[in-house]
Every structure is written in C-alpha cells, then in structure tokens.
Amino acid sequence: METQKKSVLITGVSHLWGRKLASLLEDDPSLDPIIGIDFIQPETPFKRLKFFQVDLDNPLISELLKTANVDTVCHLLFLESYGYEEEFFGLNVMGTMDLLASCAAAGNVSRIIFLSDTKVYGAHSGNPNFLTEDSELKGRYSHRYIQDRLEVERYLTKFTKRNKTPQITTLRFANILGPNVETPMSRFLDSAVVPKVWGFDPMMQFTHVKDALDSIAHAIKSDAVGPFNIAGDNPIPFTQVLRIGAKVALPIASPILKMSYNFYRKLGIVDSVMIEADFLKYNCVGDTSRMKNVLKFFPKYSCREVIKDFFENSRLNKYYAPKGKVRSDPQAAESLVKWIREKQQATEQTSYLIDQYADLVKNLDEEVIHENKQQKSGE
C-alpha cells in the first residue's frame, strides 16, 4: 500500500450516498483532508469532513480545489427523477459539466470518479449475455435517471478525447439494492404484485449497497482509470427474483405493458413504481471481469445474496417500531463518546462501558438511518 496521503473532495455529502460514503472514508487516515460540498446543509455534523455549501456551477470550486490541493474528486451528487425536470437536468448534466470544467481549470486534480448505471447500455435483444465496458451505450429511455446518466457518460467520452487530465473513472452499477436504500429497483420490487413481460425472463444483475460503497472507496484509493461495471457474481433470472421474494408475478404482453404503462403514467398513477419494460424483457448484464482484473475489487455479495438480503430486510421493515419524536439520534452521542475517551486516555483510565456503547452505536447505524427516513416520510 502507498503511504502517500490523498486529499479528496466529495460532492453530494448531504444526500444519502454522500453521507454513507463520508462516514466510510472518515475512518481512513490515509485520506486527508476530506472536503464535502453540497447545495443543502447536512442533517448531522461530520466527524472529520470539512463541509461547504456551494452549488456545482460556483466558480469558487476551482479555487477550493487549488487551495486544498485536492487530487481526487468523487462526484456523487445526482438527483433521480423519472420524468423530465429542467432543474434536475441542470444539476445532473450541466452541474457535472461545470464540475469537470472546474477540475480541469484547477490543474491539480488527477482523477475524478463518477457514478453511473449499467442501464446506460440499454436492454436490447441483440445484447451479448455479458456487456463489456466498451459496448456501445444505447440506453435511450424516457426515464430521466437513465437518460441523464447517459448524457453525462457521452460528455465524459468527449471530454476524455480532448483532455489528458483529469483522468476519469466511471463506476457503472447494476441495480442497487440493500437495506434502507431506495432505488428504482427497490421501489419496483416493493409491491406485492410485480408485473413481468409474458414469455420473457431476462438475467438480472444486482449490486449490494455495501459493495457499491466499498467499490467507491476502493476506486478512490486505487489508480484504475476508465469505466467499470460493478455488480455481484452470478446474475439470476427475473422470475427467480420474484420467487425468492414471494411476489405474485403478473405476466403482461410486452406491447400492452408498454402502452398501459404510458397510459397510467400520464394519469399519474404508477409514476415511479415501474422500471422500463425493456429491462424485464432482454438481458442487460455487465461483464465484471474488468472490475476484478483491473480495479481489483471483489464484491462480497453475489446477486442471489443481494436479493435475499433485500427481501429479508423488507420483510423485517414491517415490524420495526416507529421512532419516538422526543428521542435523540444515537449517532449524535458519538461526539460525547469521543470526548470521554480523550479525557480517559489523558488520565490513562479505561472503561468497559464506553467501548460497549461505541459498539452499540455502530450496530445501530443502519437501523437509525431507516428510522430517520421513516419519520420523514411520516410527516
């Protein structure tokens, strides 16, 4: 391992992904300083990360990158939407362009890490069973969360042709699933009756949230450049996913599914719960050999384990007690733990209680995020 310290800037730290990644990176002493930016304030303060509230198109970002001598930028800020919204487009696509411009202007940024989706390849009948990273990007869909990714990717290829630095690493994730994270796929699988296309049963690929976050952290520390498909091993058929989840599959002929989907979406009934019909019809599976050979990242969860874990958690979700409104966030007590520890170390005292409490808080972590979310949606 290299001993050289890296300075990192993360965008979107006030949102779920940035938040999770920040708490993962803050434990790593080889990354210093860690700077986070976002357009809204974070809900809870960070341990070590220095936060600034700026927009992506702010020209000051290039000065910030220069002054802090940042060498790796990790761009996580991306807002998911199903329909077209000018504001979201401005942030997802134009914001990315502005950030790239700032990084190029700063001069000291050597690498930028972008997140993307294997859906940008598109699901077509002529797809090979495993799509390598250099496959053509043909994911033209009405869903903006795919389309925006695609536009960003197109811009990135143009950018890499013209500029040598900063180098670009793109992580293309398969359907991300995991406890307490909402993605289009998790919303789709959430209902009791799940539509499928009659007569088709594509292989599907999944990435566990933990693997996704680990791979970002791994990419920051490694020097691998270029696009990478990030997904678990052994893709599984869609019907098997439904069987594992004990869902009722509703087979619909594909033209009817497409038509009715458009119809219902116009009425505003099924806006978000569907995923594009093509992905229920044809394979869109990424080849992960480049991830293993070049990035040297090995996911902990196979696709089947991701699915099992997801359904186990969504079953358990029903039984969680709602969080009381007069209770504080257990994570917030971390600063107290830290303070007491420092005092104890100074006087060379140790306490069993404080270690136990720290462990407890760590284990609570996942649950807490869940409860927070639940409370928000309840309001």
Partner: protein, 311 residues
C-alpha cells in the same frame, strides 16, 4: 432529493397483502404438503424448491435441474425415436475448451439438442454442450427462455469467446438459417459456412475445432416449399411446406422417425498455430474450407453405406 416517499414500515393490512396471502403460490405449497405420502418425497421437495426460488441457474441462464427433469423425454427421443448412432466420441476432450462445428438441417433445429444428448449419454465424462443459437430466437417469447434454460446461448462473438475462455464445449452451426431452411432437394449439400466467423473465434480463444457431421436430420421435416410471402408477413425466417405440415395441423410438426448418425471427427488443433497478422484472413478462409470439406466428406462416407433413411 425528490424521492417517491412510500412509507415502508407499519403497513396496515391492504388488498395487496390479501393477494399475496391468498396467492396461488401459497395454495400450491399447502397442497404439496398434503400430498406427502401419495407422491414421491423427492418430487415434492423439488417442486417446493422451484416455487420458492431455491434453485441454481448459472450465469448463462442454464438450469441444470430443469435440464435433468427433461432428461427422460430427451433420452427417449435420442434412444428410441431417432436411434442415434454415435461414432468418434473419444474425440471430445474430457476437459478444456473445444469448438464443435456441425452441419445444420431439419427445419426445426433438433440437431443441436441431439449433439448435446450424445455427449451426455455416450461420453465417459458427460459434459454440457453450449450451442450458439440464432440471435433472433431470443426475441421470441418462451422460445428465448427455453433455449437459455437448456444451455443454449445467443450466437454473438462476445458470447462465444467468453464461453470458450471459460473452458466450455461450444457448438456452432456456421450454415445458420441457410442450413435449417434448406429445401429437400439440396439435402446433405452444405451451404456456405458463414463468413468464417467461427474460425476467427477459435483462433482468438486458442481452441481446437471438432468437425461434426449429423445424418438423418435432413429427412425429419422434408421442406418441399418455402412460403416466402407469409414468412415475410409473420416475420419468421421461413414458413415450410412439408409432406405433413400444414396438412395435418399440429400433428404435422411431429418429425419423421429417421435413423440418425452423429460423427465427431478428430480435433483440428489451432491452439499452437503461429501466423503473422497479415496471414490471418487467408488462414481463416483455408481452415473454413478444411472444416467444411471434412464434414461434407464424412456425410458422403456415411450416405454411401446408408440403405434406408429409417434404419
């Protein structure tokens, strides 16, 4: 962040829940439990595992358990219906990659399945043969799934290369549609062997080529006439007229019980071959011709000895 904030916790009992609780799945599971005693215990276990998703499908979509369930039917067709006689099975390696190249015929492509069965039944170490099928089949409902579940893969360069690099046995039919949809008068006359893509594949993956000749499949559905206008209209590659189809309706789809011979020839080693990049196109066309001639000669050799198409 704009998210569709569907509350996940503390759901009240809804109609959706009722649907899940009373779904066919649960009823079937309950009935299966009641059947213990009458029905074979293993069968119940397998069925229960199928329903609850506790089975393994490999990354190419091949479902070994399902293939095993279909085995008795396939075995009947192989042994009793077409009485396949196999020669040269020792040319199939017990391990490592190999590209099997065969002639294609029979209107409906049963030849791939029979080749796979031959290796399953006769080889001392049964292996799975992954045949590459025409791309357009993947876009047909049910057919696409069925092909994938029995171990067939869409014929694309990327797929073939990856399969060979994973040390699988891969079967290809370079004649493609021109082979299966061949008129009866042209039987046993090999069509053009594509553009030599299969040789390119073998050279890239450093895999030996095993020429395979299949005799008997040409006569199972003698194609007398191809109704091109209807085929064009329906979007199928061909609409055949045979002595039995469409005159006997669905019964006409029953193939004739001809006698089959499958011969696996000696492997053509391509793994150690050395050539300059500039020589590649010539090498490809030469090997293509070599493979095609070997298969054609083996077919003629067998046809010389064959006295009747039925035994």
């Amino acid at each position: 962040m704009k998210t569709n904030s569907k509350s996940q916790g503390n759901k009240s009992f809804t109609i959706k829940d009722l649907v899940t609780k009373a779904s066919g799945r649960n009823i079937v599971l309950a009935v299966l439990d009641q059947c213990r005693g009458f029905v074979n215990e293993d069968t119940i276990e397998i069925l229960k595992r199928r329903i609850t998703g506790e089975y393994f499908v490999d990354e190419w979509g091949f479902d070994e358990e399902l293939a095993e369930l279909c085995r008795p039917i396939m075995s009947f067709i192989y042994k009793k219906y077409w009485r396949v006689t196999v020669s040269g099975i020792e040319n199939i390696p017990s391990e490592g990659r190999a590209l099997l190249v065969a002639n294609h015929s029979g209107v409906l492509p049963y030849d791939g399945a029979m080749m796979a069965m031959a290796i399953q039944e006769e080889h001392p170490k049964p292996r799975i043969l992954r045949c590459l099928h025409l791309s357009l089949f993947s876009a047909i409902p049910i057919v696409g799934i069925a092909l994938a579940r029995v171990g067939q893969v869409q014929a694309l360069n990327e797929n073939g290369e990856k399969l060979l690099n994973q040390d699988h046995l891969v079967g290809v039919f370079p004649e493609g549609l021109k082979g299966v949809g061949k008129p009866f008068k042209d039987r046993y006359r090999l069509a053009r062997f594509g553009r030599g893509g299969f040789v390119n594949l073998a050279l890239k993956a450093k895999s030996p080529i095993i020429p395979v000749s299949v005799i008997g499949a040409e006569e199972i559905h003698p194609l007398l006439y191809n109704v091109k206008p209807i085929a064009k209209l329906v979007g199928l590659p061909y609409v055949p007229v045979t002595p039995t189809f469409p005159w006997l309706g669905p019964l006409g789809l029953l193939p004739f019980p001809t006698k089959w011979y499958i011969h696996f020839d000696k492997p053509i080693p391509l793994q150690d071959i050395k050539y300059k990049p500039s020589e590649e196109p010539l090498l490809i066309s030469q090997i293509t011709a070599q493979v095609r001639n070997t298969i054609q000669n083996n077919i003629y050799e067998r046809l010389k000895q064959r006295r009747s198409i039925f035994w």
